[in-house]
Amino acid sequence: MSRSAVVVAIILAAALFAPWLAPYGEAQFVGGVWDPPSVRHLLGTDNLGRDMLTRLIFGARNTVSIAGLATTLAVGLGVALGFLAAALGGWVDALVSRGVEILLSIPVLISALMVLAALGNSLAVLIATIGLLESTRVYTIARAIARTIVVREFVAAARLRGEGLVWVLAREILPNALPALAAETGLRFSFIFLFIASLSFLGLGIQPPAADWGSMVRENAPAINFGLIAPLYPATAIALLTIGVNRLVDRYLAAESRPGAA
């Protein structure tokens, strides 16, 4: 098990068994504001006097689960539409690409407020919103990758056999697009951590007192001015998971780019 795999495993374990691992309650006030690390509070306390370690553990659960679901939705939707646009071309490509362009050029503030005004605020809405908005970015990259694969002969061979579009996309194009898509997915997962926080800041996100790493960085950020490192704990947690996940992607990418693989 490589180092990064261990790190990711630890974080997933924390996410899964949060209630049993956390020393205190998720919303429990246990001390002063930004108390330094002590025996009772290994990482000190946060901006409201809650135990930082507890918040990180519960934060892991919310962040990883929501980011995981949102990434799956974003990558699934983005890749499917991207491949369809590349494979079919013509008006399908034009229609979807322009639609994506529209979504991308509307500032996130307005789209988030629009969704909030229309659908209210629930975890499902949060995940759907992130999934939809991020899928536009995945779409752009997936389409670019697929366009170079669609013109190759083995795709023509499959189509000539009478294969359906779904088979061509899933078994002929996807395997060749996986290395680059894996890199994109790894990054998208990390971008979404912070996207959850910025949406929560707008009111469309995780309701207090639930914790998520991105919001913890935002709430504790002022401490940096007083020479306190409170915001660095959640920031480090995000960094560890980000580097862990993307290092695993690199391992897969290295295996895939060995000659004979492509």
């Binding site: 322009r98 362009e101 050029s105 509307i106 307005i110 629009m114 752009t140 013109v151 680059a180 894996a182």
Partner: protein
């Protein structure tokens, strides 16, 4: 090829029209209106009524949009509901500032990202590759405003080398201006660098095992020209896409950096406009961003076609 471009430009205008409609009706159906936003909580109903009458807010949204569209077709983007000043006059200086900052960041970020991405791909698995990847992944683990705070804390407060306020005004010399926007530029570069570096690296690696790369190696080319002249062009499609995406972000999504560095950009103007439900201003800002983005996408598609000849047929 020219026919293709003309069609795309036509589509671009259509897209802008749809965006303007979407922005209008979206902002319009958000709670509250410009009168309530202007007068604040203590407003009396009579005062609200006066303003609403003077700004013709009573008319149905559809009609107001048609009026706006008709005016735009005659080149008049209308006046701000909140201040009565011409929307274009309010937007132009700020949009120039946004483009200047985004441009400066792009000039630094894009070549740097491609360079680092290529270097990382060339020595995949080596120390440089790991170092570059770790640095990039660190920058995307922290929200933009926090990167800004850290830079200000280090360069402005501790070392005092650079100002933390990027308030541009006429009286400043070019050196002062550049000094003022150095920190925001560094922040933006760090924010967009990671995505481009990682995608460049992945795209090149997924091409490195192709037979023509082996052939180029057997022709005795240096690893550098091998990657730059053969791997990069064939891996260009996703790279161009990710560069376009991030340039779009530099222009459309940079409000946070404007807030932290107090930079008079169009992002903050749009946030205020939305907050005040100042529809003509929201439209103008929205269209400026959208036009930039649609333009970027068009250029990206054309470059992708030029770089990969096989796409030209498609």
């Amino acid at each position: 090829m020219r026919g293709l471009i003309a069609a795309r430009v036509g589509m671009g205008f259509l897209t802008l029209a749809v965006i303007s409609a979407l922005l209008f009706f979206a902002t319009d159906c958000l709670p509250g209106d410009v009168a309530a936003a202007l007068l604040g909580p203590q407003a009396t109903p009579e005062a609200l009524a006066t303003i609403r009458a003077s700004l013709r807010l009573g008319e149905p949204a559809g009609l107001r949009y048609v009026h706006w569209l008709a005016a735009v077709l005659h080149g008049d983007f209308g006046r701000s509901l909140a201040t009565g000043r011409s929307v274009v006059a309010m937007l132009r200086p700020r949009f120039q500032n946004t483009l200047a900052l985004a441009g400066l960041a792009a000039i630094v970020a894009v070549p740097l990202a491609l360079g680092l991405g290529v270097a990382a791909a060339m020595r995949a698995g080596g120390r440089l590759d790991r170092a570059v990847s770790t640095l990039c992944l660190l920058t995307i683990s922290v929200p933009e405003f926090f990167i800004g705070y850290l830079l200000i804390l280090l360069f402005s407060v501790q070392l005092g080398w650079l100002p933390s306020l990027a308030v541009l005004h006429g009286g400043m010399s070019l050196a002062q201006r550049l000094g003022a926007i150095t920190l925001p530029t560094i922040t933006l570069v760090l924010v967009v660098l990671a995505h481009m570096v990682r995608m460049t690296r992945a795209a090149i690696l997924s091409v490195m095992s192709a037979p023509y790369i082996e052939m180029a190696l057997l022709k005795g080319l240096t690893r550098g020209s091998l990657v730059l002249r053969h791997a990069l062009p064939n891996a260009a499609a996703p790279i161009i896409a990710v560069v376009a995406l991030n340039l779009g972000y530099l222009v459309v999504g940079v409000v946070v950096v404007e807030v932290v560095f107090v930079y008079p950009g169009a992002g903050q103007l749009m946030v205020d406009a939305v907050g005040k439900r100042d529809l003509p201003l929201v439209q103008a800002c929205g269209l400026a961003f959208a036009a930039t983005y649609v333009g970027l996408n068009l250029v990206a598609d054309i470059v992708a076609m030029l770089v990969n000849p096989r796409l030209r047929r498609a």
